[in-house]
Symmetry: C2
Subunit: 340 residues, 2 copies
Amino acid sequence: MIQNKQCRLAKRPIGMPNAENWNIVTEELPELKEGELLIKTMYISLDPAMRGWMNEGKSYIPPVGIDEVMRAGTAGKVIASKNPDFKEGDFVTGGIGVQQYGISKGEGLVKVDTSIAPLQTYLGVLGMPGMTAYFGFMDLGKPQEGETIVISGAAGAVGSVVGQLAKAKGLHVVGIAGGEDKCKYVVEEFGFDACVDYKSSDFKQALKEATPKGVDIYFDNVGGDILDLLLTRINRGARIPICGAISQYNNTTPVKGPSNYLSLLVNRARMEGFVVFDYAPRYREAVIDMVGLMKKNQLKAKEHIVDKDIDAFPETLLMLFKGENLGKLVLKVAQEDEVK
Amino acid sequence: MIQNKQCRLAKRPIGMPNAENWNIVTEELPELKEGELLIKTMYISLDPAMRGWMNEGKSYIPPVGIDEVMRAGTAGKVIASKNPDFKEGDFVTGGIGVQQYGISKGEGLVKVDTSIAPLQTYLGVLGMPGMTAYFGFMDLGKPQEGETIVISGAAGAVGSVVGQLAKAKGLHVVGIAGGEDKCKYVVEEFGFDACVDYKSSDFKQALKEATPKGVDIYFDNVGGDILDLLLTRINRGARIPICGAISQYNNTTPVKGPSNYLSLLVNRARMEGFVVFDYAPRYREAVIDMVGLMKKNQLKAKEHIVDKDIDAFPETLLMLFKGENLGKLVLKVAQEDEVK
């Protein structure tokens, strides 16, 4: 029998999650039934949205239940199949969760072609963060050549893709990230025109200087004070896609609402939320477009791979909230040669 | 020579305006020059936006300068003209300001037909508040028959028109107003399906009961806690036109940002600002539509007329912030028979 190590939600967090919130358990996998397939997890996606899934209460998807395996996007290999649509050796992405193995009936699984891009890229640029970047930018951002876009969380999985897409569209692209090294990385690796360090004492002035023509699109991944500051920089008719608010996810006090929201009125501007899953019928369109950009070297896939075991999930998740990742954060839980 | 009494801005207010902020002065009118016309002010429009015009700082229009006549929409009669486009006896609306007489070169003046509607209605339903209601509702609200709209400031000049337009479009229309009497008025006079009293202790529950299918459009005139509450009631794809934030205009502390703005994300919803002046090229379209509705008795023009002198402007303005008006608030500063 195969032993399956899992990370389960033990307790809902208040503020930043810690060891108490998790249970690492190992259980035996049952036999495959007719129609099922067995997947060995190779990469686990770490996403800011996970923090929201851990909370009680109504959201765009139900919360993860107490004692359930933590929800996660994963990429893995089919190692046994009693399902005619999948065969041993297929690479698939899906929501297997934070565990070494998953048994599935095939629902929600997508076969991926590792000759186009490495498996982990299907959790990044060609996965949920990439789709989020693409539709948030294209559909809500409504970019026009020559406009200025500012992107917070610029070194992250979504922000880094938005910036590259915006460069390809001919926008003036300014990132916001934490720390000099990250900012340098955003400019040098992802080709942003500029990146300003929100931890720096002259952040406001630097942002102003980097956006001499104001801001037409602010792609918001962080919320909080940065959203409030950007509201003072927007141009008439600006669009603010609300992708997330990582600065607020671990708050133990109420979320900080944007005090400067009346700038929307003065500037006839718009703040709009979206959820990537709504665009599922159009993912193919985005993938084709982005693979094209990757081939022209206009879009780089950068995964930040943490090569550890399932046990390492709780600490690896915190890297997101501490801003320790550069590009898409993934946990690699199996070696190629482990996958029989 | 004609004596012209004026209300001038003496000092920028902190918080609620008071007597110190104004100077009532009387000066002699100069002789009319070639191309000019003289207007006797009959009605002065009182609008929440005036509070913003009194503040220093960048907005959608420059602030009123210290010692300048207070900006105001007005309706009056041409009593002398050296301008070929206007003749004595014409009724006009325009921004003459808070004074008994205005000399104009005709710019920004609109001749109005008092056989279609009484003069004061051109400051209400057929004036700036009506245009604000029309375009905010139609363009940003994107109403669909059967949807639920909630309107704050429902007894006010803009809110009362939005509600009537929404009823005519077949929406379920819920107002929010302060006090039982106002709520009764909103339902009985303006035909809203329901109106909930935000001063009542069971406001939240009453709002919930009045919107059993959630909220598709929230037309926000007030901001603050009510905006935050409505963000918890919106449906997927909801639209929130930001028309104003009267609850915040006299704050001496920072504006309260909407803490629940991440509901925009969860619900794929939109919060959008607008300024009525942008729609000037389309005012005619709105007037035709609204006169049609008035003829069918689907749109009532209700002006709250305060019949006093220019001196009464400062205290009359405060009625808006105390919520003492029912319908469009206007100050009547001349009698028909005074106008020679």
